[in-house]
């Protein structure tokens, strides 16, 4: 396997899954070409201005920023459905339509839904 696509469809903070997907993607960067695909509730991860200090958990947007070489694809229809289209988003991510999102999954050697 030379490339991996991690698929995250769970909202951040309510569950460890977003944190787990980010960590798995980060360690995979050393050996493979890595894409993190955000779909469904996973797209909440890219709203700018997250501050999780008071919640006492890691700031997931900080983790996103610290792995600039990680390709992050956001499924735009999911974003629109959830009312996030007019929100300020983290700049390092790529909004893609459904065609491009599925295309990226197809062109990766493996897809790991988290």
């Amino acid at each position: 396997m030379r490339s991996v696509f991690y698929l995250l469809d769970t909202a951040p903070y309510g569950s460890e899954k977003a944190f787990g997907a980010l960590n798995a993607a980060a360690v995979s960067l050393t050996r493979m070409h890595v894409t993190l695909g955000l779909y469904g509730d996973g797209v909440y991860l890219v709203v700018a201005g997250q501050d999780s200090k008071k919640l006492g958990v890691p700031n997931l947007s900080d983790i996103l920023y610290s792995y600039g070489e990680l390709r992050v694809l956001v499924h735009e229809p999911s974003l629109v459905d959830r009312g996030l289209f007019e929100e300020t988003l983290i700049e390092t991510v790529e909004l893609v339509d459904e065609e491009d999102f599925l295309e990226a999954m197809e062109s990766s050697d493996c897809v790991i839904p988290i």
Partner: protein, 124 residues
């Protein structure tokens, strides 16, 4: 020999994935190398002394797999969070006394190593 890696993220009983992974691994082990990486709640799967009244013990299922040659590793961060502590290696080929024989706690980097050396990856 081709290699299959199975990634698990759910704990036993609350989901059926430990059983499904076991059936997949049993089939694959006849011809292929099988790796299993336990992530997040899946680190509960190899816990000793599980005694479900109406289901098959996940620990027993995975004991069988390790004996048949599957390489089974658990994420160190997830394991520590859930109270499974890695120690010096014991005689049973594991490094956590709460785990069944043959399962090791290791770094998440082992996941990326398993993936990069695999022909196929199944994530449940």
């Amino acid at each position: 020999m081709k290699t299959l890696t199975i990634v698990l993220t759910d704990g036993p009983y609350i989901s059926e994935y430990a059983e499904i992974a076991c059936k997949i691994a049993e089939s694959a082990l006849k011809q292929y190398q099988v790796n299993i990486f336990l992530y997040m709640d899946a680190v509960h799967i190899p816990k000793k002394s599980q005694n479900p009244s109406f289901f098959t013990s996940a620990g027993e299922l995975f004991t069988g797999l390790a004996e048949k040659g599957a390489v089974i590793r658990a994420c160190a961060r997830c394991a520590a969070a859930r109270g499974y502590i890695a120690e010096e290696e014991t005689a049973n080929g594991n490094n956590c006394e709460d785990y069944i024989p043959g399962i090791k706690i290791s770094s998440l980097y082992e996941l990326s190593e398993m993936l990069s050396k695999s022909d196929r990856v199944i994530s449940l």
